[in-house]
């Protein structure tokens, strides 16, 4: 009976926490997914100041602000409690997202518009920085001994589901509305919709009780008076924060971003795959791969967290180059046999070339003709049949690596720190690892690829992978030598 009640309670806890965290990730990702339409509404490219604010909104809020949110809300969570803090982050995120959907465009109110978007995007980053640690800690502190990996792995699925749902909501909105309606006001719908989801989540969370571990510490008067000082000013705790960052979170961040985001940008910009097709392939792989978060979280309760996460990194760093080479070759039309070709004149100096290949691949190439040369300005490739299945499988393998490194990490981080400074201490390495090491990956990898292309490296398309490979390799070495495959009890010291 007691077991049943406990299971019921934990499912309620999981439901309330996961729902809120999922909505926070959804809120965070719709900005990225709608970045093109947002830039036309708020950040006109011909205006340098607006363009600068746009870059800041993309870079700064995406990852730089998240560790500050982790510190601010982590401290609050260790002082006043987990429940109230992650209620605040939820409302902050929901409010900011809703307001982004309400801001008049640059045409209506000028510079105030991009400035408001930037401020709200910063608030989103701060809220996300505070949310994850709270949800993971809250669930872990409710979970029965020896099952923490399994229960916290539900929280780990929310980031992937958040991305998936953001793509679905945008696709449905686009499907229901005409192109003109979507461009005029329809893009605001996914933002405004967020407030309803947040409200439902708020109602669910409101009725939840405080985490039993924290409530007990509060009752006994053993909570921290100054969590920041105790986390980072105390040598004993600081060394664990550093170990969590360099031995686990850093590698997890780059593996996560490579599989979920670099793969998407690689398909679209390096392989020139059709944008909708790339989204569909990634979406399918994400959907099939998501249950593996639970599997590896559960497995980490049985065999320990350390080697599951580290093996995920090892597989990633050993196979990224062959995987991306195979992906590139699937859409490399220079090695394929043409079955038909057609050229259409678009205007006096532009033409569209449509080529069909024997394996079903189709390429549309828009080029500009001058007196001396032909410059390709747009290339769009569509793959079919077996090639599409292979491509989905190659992305799916990367999603499996993500589930290996990400599934057990919440439980791993939670167990590393004592209850009185847990929220603060686990949030910072997670958001530095995921937000900064991972968040910078697309920009650094693109930079490395461009440099290799300029240097005429024949394998330029693989150059961007050196960043995740080196980071994952360093993290693997540190993790395997310094981290203990501890038994799964909470560090309550």
């Amino acid at each position: 009976m007691k077991e049943n009640t406990n299971t019921k309670t934990i499912w309620k806890v999981i439901g309330a926490s996961s729902m809120g965290t999922l909505i926070e990730w959804y809120d965070f990702f719709i900005f990225g997914s709608l970045s093109i339409v947002i830039s036309t509404k708020f950040f006109p490219a011909d205006n340098p100041t607006a363009a600068f604010l746009s870059t800041l909104a993309t870079f700064a809020a995406g990852f730089v602000v998240r560790p500050f949110g982790a510190l601010f809300f982590g401290r609050l969570g260790d002082l006043i409690g987990r429940k109230y803090t992650f209620m605040v982050t939820l409302l902050l995120m929901g409010g900011a997202t809703f307001l982004i959907g309400c801001i008049p465009s640059y045409e209506s109110i000028g510079f105030v518009a991009p400035l408001l978007v930037l401020i709200l995007r910063l608030l989103q980053g701060l809220a996300l920085g505070g949310e994850y640690g709270g949800a993971a800690t809250y669930v872990a502190e409710h979970a029965p001994e020896g099952q923490r990996g399994y229960w916290t792995s539900w929280i780990q699925t929310t980031a992937t589901f958040g991305l998936f749902i953001s793509l679905v909501v945008i696709l449905v909105t686009k499907y229901v509305l005409t192109e003109q309606q979507f461009d005029a006001w329809g893009w605001r719908v996914p933002f405004i919709l967020s407030i309803f989801m947040v409200y439902v989540s708020y109602l669910i969370r409101k009725n939840m009780s405080e985490s039993p571990e924290f409530a007990k510490a509060k009752e006994e008067g053993t909570t921290s008076k100054n969590p920041l000082k105790e986390s980072f000013g105390n040598r004993y705790n600081l060394k664990f924060v550093l170990l969590a960052l360099f031995g686990a979170a850093m590698g997890q961040g780059v593996v996560w971003y490579t599989g979920q985001f670099y793969s998407m940008s690689y398909m679209k910009t390096v392989m020139h795959l059709n944008s909708d097709e790339a989204d569909m392939i990634l979406g399918t792989a994400l959907l099939i791969g998501t249950p593996f978060f639970i599997l590896f979280g559960w497995l980490s309760d049985k065999v320990g967290r350390k080697w599951i996460m580290l093996l995920g990194m090892l597989f990633a760093l050993c196979t990224y180059r062959p995987i991306y080479k195979a992906m590139y070759q699937l859409a490399d039309t220079s090695t394929k046999e043409i079955s038909s070709s057609e050229i259409k004149k678009l205007n006096h100096n532009q033409q569209l070339t449509i080529k069909q290949f024997t394996d079903g691949t189709q390429m549309q190439e828009t080029s500009e003709l001058t007196n001396t040369k032909e410059t390709i300005i747009k290339k769009n490739i569509t793959v079919h049949g077996q090639n599409r299945i292979w491509l989905t499988a190659l992305i799916f393998i990367q999603i499996i690596y993500i589930t290996m490194v990400y599934g057990p990490i919440a439980a791993f981080l939670v167990e590393m720190f004592p209850v009185k400074i847990r929220y603060t201490s686990m949030s910072l390495p997670y958001h530095v690892g995921n937000g900064i090491f991972g968040g910078l990956l697309p920009a650094i990898s693109t930079y490395l690829t461009t440099n290799a292309q300029v240097a005429q490296d024949p394998e330029f398309y693989l150059a961007g992978l050196w960043y995740p490979i080196i980071i994952a390799a360093v993290c693997f070495i540190i993790g395997s030598l310094y981290i203990k495959n501890k038994p799964n009890h909470l560090n309550n010291g």
Partner: protein, 75 residues
């Protein structure tokens, strides 16, 4: 294993210094010199966010490792 961790401490400190050099002179400064606003923001973030985290963080981790803070009896 404890002795190996101490020796590796030197490697992490050296890696921190090398990474700081690489981040500054191979990534951040060339980007800032290009002058485009997007590159400028990227360069500033590398210079003031990523480089300090790697160089100070990894350097400190190496120092603790060298001092034996990660020895079996201390963790």
């Amino acid at each position: 294993m404890d002795n190996l961790k101490k020796v590796l401490g030197i490697l992490w400190i050296a890696l921190a210094l090398f990474t700081a050099y690489f981040c500054l002179f191979e990534l951040a400064i060339p980007k800032i010199k290009i002058g485009h606003q997007e590159d400028l923001v990227f360069g500033i973030i590398i210079m003031f966010i990523l480089t300090p985290i790697i160089s100070i963080g990894l350097g400190l981790f190496g120092y603790y490792s060298l001092c034996g803070e990660y020895a079996k009896d201390k963790t």
